[in-house]
């Protein structure tokens, strides 16, 4: 039991740190390059305003007359006239005049509620529990945590080729244990080569966050959306063999075709990405010499598709079609209603030694499907998402020599969030998250929460407030009224002394 509890606590601690340090980015490199403030593109960094969305759509450039805004001229990697003699020369491009590097650091403080006292109990202490049993560290009631120190680079190389690379140099105060976030090249508006309408086709290649309706990697919230972190783990207690670690927030590797605009009208994306399963990198196959290629567990490719349409609701036609609406006191985001849907289809892979000492491979198709909306009026934004997850199950047959169809593992849930920018430097947030997963409940302590959820439906409320001390420095506060959990169950399977680990978190973040 001690080992199990130790694993709980370790997992809980790691999860706490991960949850509290959601990625978020603003790009100081662009501030330097264009001599402009973060608020040109961000409402409350890293949340983009309409202009920021257009800037991103255009390949990290001003949508029109980009050159006239650049304060630090780019370095020419070839005279423009070299274009005329292509293919007898390398097609000329540019690099940003300054290294387009931005740095980000954040740190956190958390306070867990009085219910954390539950953690100090060792359930169940019985007369048989040996005296002197060592206890694992607990989640502290209060805690200072160093977050991420990250480097990120973004810009464009001219010729409508944009790039982005971000990497966490250190996490939680430890060295070099971070990882690549996004790293991609984006070929903007390649549809022009096929005489398609402007911005109808753009190609992205590399590692990237899926085109989620509401970004997780660049969210303003401290804690992530629960539905984005939900992996689908079946319950062996009902015979399910599903063990799909994929969650929507995972970075994907592959290609993405997209088109349209995020700031009005249609937008679509279609990504073909590596399957993202619980399997690790495969060993080099014996029939292929080592340098012949890359080895991974990604024989199969998954597909993600998204379509959305944004109805700009401005009365004035010019405003409606412009990047930003012409407000009486200055440009502002449109009043709009955006509706969208998304679909992810993949296949998770598990390999087992069969009952006959041969290899058994379970390939379990799964999909995630959902819809989303976003309504914006002035500085008030209400948005939400619903998602349904379904994994087919390949259950073992009686002698583990093969599989038989099992009951699918399912979950659903989503979130609803209201952001209100009360003042240009004051963002208020109210969020509701809900995840319903029978598997999580049946799995009890193996769920992805701190401890066992007491029901298959988990929901939480998360009010928050954020202050921009400067355009690049932010203080954030969030209170997570978390779902009910339990340390253990009685013999009849009922949660004993269920509690909530409500948590107040504060974060300081700066980019430079």
């Amino acid at each position: 039991m001690n080992t199990r509890r130790r694993m709980f606590l370790l997992f809980a601690f790691v999860l706490t740190v991960v949850l509290l340090t959601g990625s978020s980015y603003a790009i100081p490199a662009f501030s330097r390059q264009y001599g402009t403030s973060c608020t040109t593109c961000h409402i409350d960094f890293p949340k983009l305003n309409d202009f920021g969305k257009a800037f991103k759509d255009a390949g990290f450039k001003f949508p029109k007359d980009d050159e006239s805004f650049i304060k630090i001229p780019p370095v020419m990697l070839g005279a423009p006239a070299q274009k005329d003699i292509w293919p007898h020369s390398v097609f000329p491009g540019t690099i940003p005049g300054l290294p387009p590097i931005g740095l980000r650091f954040n740190q956190f403080f958390q306070y867990t509620s009085g219910n954390a006292n539950n953690y100090y109990q060792v359930p169940p202490i019985t007369p048989q529990t040996p005296v002197g049993t060592a206890l694992s560290p607990t989640i502290p009631r209060t805690d200072f945590e160093a977050g991420y120190f990250s480097i990120f680079m973004a810009g464009n190389f001219g010729s409508d080729i944009a790039f982005w690379v971000d990497d966490d140099l250190s996490v939680s105060g430890l060295n070099a244990n971070g990882a690549l976030g996004d790293g991609y090249l984006r070929f903007v508006n390649i549809g022009r080569f096929f005489k398609l309408p402007t911005d109808a086709l753009t190609l992205k290649v590399g590692q990237f966050e899926l085109d989620l309706p509401f970004t997780q990697a660049r969210s303003i919230n401290i804690s992530p959306y629960d539905i984005y972190t939900e992996a689908n783990i079946g319950s062996s207690s009902i015979g399910q063999n599903v063990n799909n670690q994929f969650s929507m927030q995972d970075a994907a590797q592959g290609v993405e075709f997209s088109g349209g605009h995020q700031y009005g009208g249609y937008h679509y994306s279609l990504a073909i990405v590596n399957q993202n399963t619980s399997g690790g990198a495969a060993a080099a196959p014996s029939n292929v010499s080592s340098p012949a290629g890359f080895f991974s567990d990604s024989n199969y490719k998954n597909i993600y598709a998204r379509f959305s349409y944004r109805f700009n609701l401005e009365k004035d036609p010019a405003s409606r079609h412009d990047i930003q609406a012409a407000g009486a006191t200055g440009p502002r985001d449109h009043t709009y209603l955006s509706l969208g849907s998304f679909y992810y289809e993949g296949r998770s892979v598990q390999r087992f030694i069969s009952g006959t000492d041969s290899l058994l491979t379970a390939r379990e198709p799964f999909y995630r499907v959902g819809g989303d909306f976003s309504f914006n009026y002035r500085t008030f934004n209400l948005f939400g998402l619903y998602m349904y997850g379904h994994d087919q199950d390949q259950a073992f047959n009686g002698d583990y020599s093969g599989f038989v169809p099992g009951s699918a593992a399912k979950f659903n849930g989503g979130f609803l969030e209201a952001d209100y920018l009360a003042l240009p430097w004051l963002m208020t947030i109210l969020r509701y998250d809900r995840v319903q997963s029978t598997g999580d409940f049946l799995n009890g302590a193996n769920s992805s929460n701190y401890y066992s959820p007491v029901g298959s439906a988990r929901d939480r409320f998360t009010p928050g407030v954020q202050f921009l001390i400067h355009p690049n420095i932010k203080a954030s506060f969030e209170y997570q009224y978390r779902p009910q959990q339990a340390l253990y169950y009685n013999a009849s399977g009922q949660a004993v002394a269920a509690f909530r680990t409500n948590t107040a978190t504060g974060a300081l973040e700066f980019v430079y």
Partner: protein
């Protein structure tokens, strides 16, 4: 013929006499770097007709150009947007008076909006979507004003002889005023501090 000649002589003498009574104020503004503005305060009870010229302040490359414009009280200034992004111009005060705050709204590339500055003082120009944008209209109560050069030197010409108060303004310093008696060429050095 003789009388016409006589009148011309009288007119020339009168003009020469007028020119002789208009002096120059020159000097140096120290304690700050960059452009400053020096203007003559209006003598009590004295008013000046508003000029008909309408200077233009452009919004170009996410900057107000020129950064500082000095105008006489009553001047209409045209605000042009040459950028392909939407801009906004507003000011939180005129001469420190926050009641005179005004917002000109939003307008597209190539268009202008006009505003007549009837109150003297410095007007800090801002854009609510590009907070780094900074510009100033300095509204002088008289037609006698000048911007300093890079060294801080200035020269205000054609100031009628008399006793005045000159005021120096700089965007990063407190105004400083001092009396000056103009009779021909006069000097007034001013030192500004934050």
């Amino acid at each position: 013929m003789k009388s016409t000649l006589m009148m011309m002589v009288v007119a020339v003498v009168a003009m020469m006499s007028l020119a002789a009574s208009a002096g120059t104020i020159s000097g140096k503004v120290s304690g700050v770097t960059g452009e400053s503005v020096v203007y003559v305060e209006a003598p009590a009870g004295k008013t000046f007709p508003a000029p008909t010229q309408e200077p233009v302040i452009d919004q170009k490359g996410l900057m107000f150009q020129p950064h500082i414009v000095v105008v006489q009280q009553g001047t209409t200034v045209q605000f042009l947007n040459s950028d392909s992004v939407a801009h906004n111009v507003f000011w939180p005060s005129v001469g420190g008076n926050k009641k005179l705050t005004h917002n000109l709204g939003t307008w597209p590339k190539g268009e202008k909006r006009a505003f007549k500055f009837d109150n003297p003082g410095a007007v800090p120009l801002l854009c609510n979507v590009h907070p780094e944008m900074s510009g100033y209209v300095v509204v002088s109560p008289t037609p006698y004003f000048a911007k300093t050069d890079a060294s801080g030197a200035y020269k205000i010409e054609n100031v009628p002889d008399g006793s005045y108060t000159v005021t120096a303004w700089h965007e990063g310093a407190k105004n400083q005023s001092k009396p000056v008696a103009v009779a021909g060429d006069s000097k007034a050095d001013l030192t500004l501090s934050k």
